[in-house]
Symmetry: C2
Subunit: 411 residues, 2 copies
């Protein structure tokens, strides 16, 4: 887990070919011989190099950390983020084998992670920009969040194993710092990393930064992100971290993994669906995104509560952490637990929308709109809605209430 | 930090003499030569061996972990608890040099910790049993809790340093398991570690265990203890962990140190003052304990909020974690933060009272009462009050409300 080593070399396509050929189990998956393989770079995220290597029998995805941010070589960064992505997969894969990618190989010297390739899948963000998608994708992501977080929470395991995992992921400080700064701090102040091209947005940004309620809420969300280790989070669950076909959906890119509030994962996903909604070209697409948020939350709560009930039923009363009892009172405590996740989700979705429009890393969704004035108008509307998400705690009593406001807002 | 090693030897008084003589800096504190020293065992807690070594110039306290619980050799236990006590002192001493003991030496092979001796001090529990004490002792403990928790929280430091400390103390799992089991689980079920001699208590124990509200609340407190790492806690802040003279008060025995909710430290202290109240021999002593709880909470909140204000004033807005702003809205968030600590304090004080009467490790306070029927009646009253602390969340709106109920209950 050293972040500097003299053995490390950044791979190019030829390097990937040689590297894969040196691993018999991986080479066997590709089949044929090395000269039949194609290797192409498909780096898309901001941080890492990504290659697809394909042979007659199949393909793999090869991901390597760089000693800097991929899109900004002047921003130096330790290599160990690939370690945390590999560790995240190790922890959650047994619980979501149908919803993420299988880890095939991890090299702790070269910081190379190899997973099964998803060459027939599309990035969900792109699929949403192109037109209708199967809304059940959102149901599957609800299951992903429920199963990955429940399994790594205190509800499912003795606290010692949870603390051991927290010890591991509490070292993922470089990427946690990025989340704290880029998502939860910078957009609320003048900072050189912030940027937006549309002058129409400036008054809204000023209004957000002048709103004491928004600032108090983002402070609380920042503190809560760092001091509420409910479960192991993916940590970057936007629509660019999801690969999908019509009937198969996989979450990738778990390098931001950290223990935190479950509503953070949920909020990033919902925030990106809302960004997709505000950049939708027609009413049908808008309805689809609303429907997907509804499906996501219903699926998450149903799956999470079902796991909780099953876990409790399988244990002696004294071996259960929480709740030890099944009574009206404990159902009430469960409901408070879920309600807190919901309120976190609303807050973090607002933060995600704002940072994706005025912060360092924007989203491509709005580029699907026909002209700059329309883009600016939609971004402004999205910012104003996000401000509402942050402005008043508990403004939204439940998901229907939230979606009704969103529909009203957008319409 | 290995918990088994072939070099480890349990020291007796002669061994302590030889060991101290081998440490020139410690030997110099005692002065004279080794044959002038007195060494006596003063072990009082359940876990460790404790010796006082005194010479012509001064004395030191020598504490060594045993490979088992001191009072129950059949209960095996790793040695590393002394490491966590030494680490706790290292972290908090700079912030509370006047309220705890200075660490002079730590031996990670023999698991020996040497601190300045407090030979002129009395254990607070014993002082309370003997008669009036200076109520300002409670003010000082309020300062101790405020300063030690604030300094190790996200309010005072970049999150990276907090996460590094959490990584360290998340390994203190043996003693955290004791807290989870003995304080927050066992008393609410049949368990061979529970015991009480007075048959009059049995119906109250049954009522506690049959109360769905109490059980749901203790489940929540247990989960919160493990998933709300607000600050580095002492973890065992009862009146036996406090040494005092009339005008000097020192907290000792930090081996249970862990990150958790600040209200846990506060609740253990207040719970033990309440045990002292219910075992008081006269109305004056009862009033004193009520007064001390009031002083403790006032001192804690005043000191904590003062540190928060100072910390914020010393930083640029963007460098502050929480709150970044000073507005009515952020004051509201601060008040919610303090209110949550208060509610945690009430809950954990109730849990502490219950486990100290019907759990594994009882307190000596009630032995000051003249006869067994009186002891039983007072224990019963204390249990019923503790049940109220757990029965309804937010029953007590503030400290005056809480103390008024306590006065009414006891009177």
């Amino acid at each position: 887990m050293t972040t500097q080593n003299t053995l490390y070399r950044t791979l190019d396509a030829q390097g990937v070919r040689t590297y894969v050929a040196s691993l018999p189990a991986i080479a066997a998956r590709l089949g044929g011989s090395v000269e039949n393989w194609t290797v192409r770079e498909v780096s898309d995220g901001n941080l890492n190099m990504v290659f697809l290597a394909e042979g007659p029998l199949g393909g793999v995805c090869v991901k390597q950390a760089l000693p800097h941010v991929r899109v900004d070589p002047s921003w130096k960064m330790p290599l160990d983020r690939t370690f945390f992505e590999a560790a995240y997969l190790r922890e959650v894969f047994p619980h979501v084998p149908d919803l993420t990618t299988e880890r095939l190989h991890f090299d702790p010297v070269q910081f190379i992670l190899i997973v099964k390739s998803l060459s027939s899948h599309t990035v969900l963000r792109n699929a949403l920009m192109l037109g209708p998608v199967n809304p059940q994708i959102a149901t599957r992501i609800g299951q992903f969040v429920a199963r990955s977080t429940f399994a790594t929470s205190l509800l499912a395991a003795p606290f010692e194993s949870v603390m051991d995992r927290r010890i591991c992921f509490a070292r993922n400080q470089t990427l946690t710092r990025i989340t704290v700064d880029l998502v939860l701090t910078d957009p609320y102040h003048d900072h050189p990393r912030n940027h937006w091209a549309e002058p129409e947005l400036t008054p809204v940004v000023q209004a957000i930064r002048a709103d004491a309620g928004v600032l108090a809420r983002i402070d609380t969300l920042r503190l809560r992100f760092l001091s509420c280790p409910q479960a192991l989070l993916h940590g970057d669950l936007h629509t660019g971290s999801i690969m999908t076909t019509n009937d198969d959906t996989r979450v990738i890119d778990g390098e931001f993994a950290t223990y935190g509030p479950i509503g953070f994962d949920a909020g990033l996903f919902v925030g990106n669906l809302i960004l997709s909604l505000f950049s939708a070209r027609d009413a049908a697409a808008q309805s689809q995104q609303i429907h997907m948020i509804k499906l996501f939350w219903a699926s998450f709560t149903e799956q999470f509560l079902a796991l909780w009930a099953t876990e409790n039923a399988s244990k002696d009363q004294a071996a259960r952490y929480y709740p030890a009892t099944q009574t009206i009172e404990s159902e009430k405590e469960k409901n408070i637990f879920i309600e807190n996740i919901f309120q976190d989700m609303i807050g973090y979705s607002g933060a995600e929308i704002i940072r994706r429009i005025i912060g360092y890393a924007h989203v491509s969704d709005f580029s699907a709109l026909p002209d700059t004035p329309t883009q600016a108008a939609r971004k402004k509307a999205a910012l104003l809605f996000a401000k509402d998400c942050l402005d008043q705690t508990h403004l939204f009593r439940n998901c229907d209430d939230f979606l009704s406001h969103l529909t009203h807002y957008h319409g």
